[in-house]
Symmetry: C2
Subunit: 199 residues, 2 copies
Amino acid sequence: MSFSPLIRQLIDALRGLPGVGPKTAQRMALHLLERDREVARHLARALEAAMDGVGYCSRCRTLSETEICNLCADPRRDDSLLCILQSPADVWAVEQAGGFHGRYFVLKGNLSPIDGLGPEEIGIPALLACLEDRDVAEVILATNPTVEGEATAHYIANLLKPRGIKVSRIAHGVPLGGELEYIDGGTLAHALAGRTPIG
Amino acid sequence: MSFSPLIRQLIDALRGLPGVGPKTAQRMALHLLERDREVARHLARALEAAMDGVGYCSRCRTLSETEICNLCADPRRDDSLLCILQSPADVWAVEQAGGFHGRYFVLKGNLSPIDGLGPEEIGIPALLACLEDRDVAEVILATNPTVEGEATAHYIANLLKPRGIKVSRIAHGVPLGGELEYIDGGTLAHALAGRTPIG
């Protein structure tokens, strides 16, 4: 059967959401049309408002609807600590974990010459400019533990060390609550190599 | 951490979609903001257009953006067969299965006195009016095999039999490809009681 054009277009548009396949999109479209038209209109307005109003913080480059984001504007944060991440989602994750009170700087992805992503593209010049302006004592590299993330971390470490800035990398190992028998070999090898003294 | 208001509102609005929890909504919002702003704007327009443009077919009462839906307007369908279902989603399911070439009539749910749903509310008068207009030889009751669905089917069967219309109920039993050891007892008992001669 063919859906009528507006319903077909709605189903196709819902499939643009990450993780939504054809069956889920169909179920969503029907749910909205049959039960929740006000929810659908509200979602349409929220989408438009967010796409129009949300840009990037000119300082840390995370998503923000103001020129300077909440985190950069907060005077209680520690200016001497700068955590470097590869996406706004990672900023949210670190903030939700709590415990970090320094500043952030968000790269646009990782170095990946094959994809045409060099230092310029991911924002290294902006990072250096940001370090010029501030009195940063330690930079924490929190890029993902992938090949590209590691390469990016090493690249930045090599750039910053001659400038007398302490550079560290977040710890990688067995996650809390993880069971050794289910952890992949790479992580386990990393956890052993990175062991720390106890007691 | 607090998201900025527009991002917070977008996440909350996405949670209105069925099956979308807080983590998924957050992931969707970030994906749209970071990678797919055009997809988000397209979705907003599709939502508005569908909510404004899609109503109900005045004949079979399924979702339709025209006064009479495609199915009711199709002259090749068999007017003598009328399948009664309880939602537009069920019309789609039967059409996608193929093989049925009659007409449909969509009830607004099932009889459920506890929820204040009597014959008026689910559309029995409209069904009777629709039967007046047409020369229907057989009505197929395809409400769900729940307590309310069965009650609705029996109610309609009792209404129509005195009018000389043949009334049937879709078969309930073991689904194709189902394995008996995993089928619930109710279905299995129904399948045994409803056995048909073979050969």
